[in-house]
């Protein structure tokens, strides 16, 4: 049994088991947490299957927990969060001893927290950075090498950096630079399992001889680290390493734990909102967070925030958490949903890819069933990139959405010859018009002459972009009915007749903009005659909406679209909420009770 739990402003999951030795799992920070969330869920399931009650949680200001990375004293809050999680596990599951497992920054913090707390039986450090300063440098290097430079975050916090979408303030960087595993007092924990990245850092490999933290130290390389620490879509669970961890912790002791009665509702309350964990039956058991305004009456339009790629429901840079809470401030309720196989939702029995899966609209439909039964018959579907594709496909198949808000859409329909670039390519090759614009500037020519422009990557990216489209274009000319642009315009007209408002937004340099322009003209001019349809090209937003500035622009556009949709709904009578495509209506009834546990 997996239960959503909340404690001291933190959101977490308790994987129940019958043993008396519990485990608390501390995640990495930022993008690394986004990559490894699913794997840590698998680790918790593995340990619970061995009989160890296991609690994994989002530290303060991260994931679905309250707070933000820009709050003061993050490192202190994270350390207190680990302590509270250990207490919570003792209290809630009645365990007598607790093992703490930390991955990356979670490991560094877990070691610090364990040494301050004392009396920790076992500690497992997975790919632990030796110092906080080394970790920050690595995060900054990754941000720069991924093309999303550690630019000023555009927040009020001075010297805050956007590190691959997540904000780290100067205060946090300073506090982290004070952490050093080698300085922790001797023998603060009884047993220590050290699993360094086997291949990356000599300093981490030397750590075993420099650590005094554990009374007895076992060292074993984390062999699956490199495959684990990849984009959420391609990250692989290191099952062999997890098996070794379970063996090291040992079998569960036979004394049954005393579980407290489950919380009536796993909920968190902020200043202007209340969030509840919900479970919905879609193509699998789905997990979501329902965010409601707490100070004003809720608008009758619920915003559904969809997964991008395989990123969990918080979104890249935690965008959907901040959007949900801002929307609540404006009176809009929202649901951020994990579709099957992503985040905290169960895998679909039939498996299949996580992006652009034909079954995913059925999960969205189940969410709309839940929304309708909860008093929200009209919804707005919001998605970025593949999430926008899912929004469009699910709106086509259901009459309840009144608005679709599609951002940096890769393509409307999946086609056999569609060119869907890998995440890395999406990030690194800009739109063709962006390159053409740059040719008009002196600085570009200076950079070209100095050899500072990565011509090969740009050239290959553009070649791949165009080579796959030539045949599609030729077919469209020979047979207009196969023109993907024409098909999309027919769809959008049909949706407009049904009363659906459509907003399509692209960053001015987004790689998806090329295909959109080819099919619908510059700025979507071929869509202008379609009622209720608006296109916006925003120079301020990048593909992943990775900066605060980009998020602010996008939020403003969404707010405007929601207000317009509400006005439209007031003018037009509401259509009955029925499925337009009975083929998708084959799953079990959508609604389960709020806060039902994930089994």
């Amino acid at each position: 049994m997996i239960r959503a739990v909340t404690f001291n402003g933190c959101f977490g999951w308790l994987h129940e088991a019958e043993g008396a030795d519990g485990v608390v799992i501390c995640p990495p920070w930022g993008y690394e947490a986004l990559c490894t969330h699913r794997a840590l869920r698998a680790l918790a399931m593995r340990l619970a299957a061995s009989g160890h009650p296991t609690l994994r949680f989002d530290p303060p200001g991260t994931g679905d927990s309250l707070g933000a990375d820009t709050d003061l004293d993050r490192v202190g809050a994270w350390l207190r969060g680990i302590n509270t999680a250990v207490d919570e596990l003792h209290h809630r599951a009645g365990v007598s001893r607790v093992t703490i497992i930390g991955l990356r920054l979670g490991a560094l913090l877990a070691a610090q927290a364990a040494s301050e707390r004392g009396g920790v039986e076992r500690l497992v450090l997975l790919a632990a950075p030796v110092t906080g300063a080394a970790h920050v440098r690595e995060l900054q290097a990754f941000a720069r090498l991924s093309g999303e430079a550690s630019e000023p975050a555009g927040t009020d916090a001075s010297d805050a950096q956007s590190l691959t979408g997540f904000i780290m303030t100067a205060d946090t960087r300073r506090a982290l630079s004070g952490l050093d595993l080698r300085r922790l007092p001797a023998a603060s924990v009884r047993h220590l399992l050290l699993m360094p990245r086997g291949e990356a850092s000599q300093s981490e490999l030397r750590l075993a001889s420099e650590l005094r933290l554990g009374s007895d130290i076992t060292t074993r390389p984390l062999a699956g680290y490199t495959a684990l620490m990849q984009d959420a879509l391609t990250s692989k669970v290191p099952y062999e390493d997890f098996r070794a961890i379970a063996e090291w912790i040992g079998p569960a002791t036979s004394r049954p734990p005393r579980y407290l009665a489950p919380q009536a509702a796993a909920m968190l309350a902020g200043d202007d909102f209340v969030e509840r964990s919900i479970t919905i039956m879609g193509t699998a058991r789905l997990s979501g967070i329902f965010c409601e305004p707490s100070k004003s009456p809720a608008q009758r339009l619920l915003v559904v925030l969809l997964n991008t790629g395989a990123n969990r429901r918080i979104g890249y840079g935690r965008i959907w958490v901040s959007f949900a809470r801002h929307l609540a401030r404006l009176g809009y309720p929202s649901l951020r949903l994990d579709i099957a196989g992503i985040g905290d939702s169960e895998d679909r029995t039939e498996g299949g890819c996580l992006e652009h899966n034909d079954a995913s609209p059925r999960d969205v439909r189940a969410a709309l069933d839940w929304a309708e039964a909860s008093g929200y018959p009209r919804t707005a579907s919001v998605g970025v990139c593949s999430g926008a594709h899912l929004a469009f496909q699910s709106v086509l198949a259901d009459s309840r959405p009144a608005l679709q808000f599609l951002v940096n859409l890769d393509h409307f329909h999946c086609q056999e010859d569609a060119v869907v670039p890998a995440p890395a390519q999406r990030r690194n090759v800009r739109s063709t018009s962006a390159y053409l614009d740059r040719l008009g500037t002196l600085s570009t020519w200076c950079r070209l002459i100095k050899g500072e422009v990565d011509i090969t990557t740009v050239g290959c990216g553009l070649y791949h972009r165009y080579s796959g489209r030539v045949s599609a274009r030729a077919r469209a000319l020979l047979s207009p009915n196969s023109d993907p642009g024409r098909r999309v315009r027919q769809d959008l007209r049909r949706l407009a007749e049904r009363g659906v408002k459509t907003v399509i937004a692209y960053g001015a340099e987004d790689p998806g903009l090329d295909e959109f322009t080819r099919n619908h003209g510059h700025g979507g001019r071929r869509l202008r005659r379609i009622p209720r349809t608006r296109c916006a090209i925003l120079p301020e937003i990048d593909h992943n909406i990775s900066t605060e500035t980009a998020r602010a622009w996008l939020f403003r556009l969404l707010e405007q679209a929601l207000d317009n949709t509400l006005q439209m709904m007031k003018r037009a009578p509401m259509r009955p909420a029925i499925s337009l495509d009975r083929r998708v209506n084959t799953h079990q009834p959508g609604l389960l009770a709020r806060n039902t546990p994930n089994a």
Binding site: A141, F142, R144, L145, E199, A424, D454, T456
Partner: protein, 101 residues
């Protein structure tokens, strides 16, 4: 670890190239390595940003250097030859022997 610091830089070219190649293969997690030439675009061969950070750390360990912020950009790790140039520059700076290679 820094045993070859005393060897003149010019003589180390081939050795450095082959050591870089070995590290690239080990940490890059790339495909089609048979075709990998010294000037091949590593990103085209599948070098991800995350793996390029692992590669950076391995290069720092192997050559006893530290990539300064100005070098933390994609083109520094774009090919074996580009990495080689960066290592030579850093080693030159470290030994005060700029331009020796």
């Amino acid at each position: 670890m820094h045993d070859d610091m005393s060897i003149p830089l010019a003589r180390l070219d081939t050795e450095i190239l082959s050591r870089i190649r070995a590290l690239v293969i080990r940490h890059g997690r790339m495909s089609d390595l048979d075709r990998l030439a010294d000037d091949s675009d590593l990103y085209e061969f599948g070098l991800s940003s995350l793996n390029s950070v692992n590669l950076m750390l391995a290069l720092e360990d192997a050559f006893g250097v530290e990539f300064p912020e100005r070098m933390l950009r994609r083109r520094t790790f774009a090919s074996i030859r580009a990495i080689h140039a960066a290592i030579i520059e850093l080693r030159g700076l470290a030994t005060g022997n700029i331009g020796a290679a």
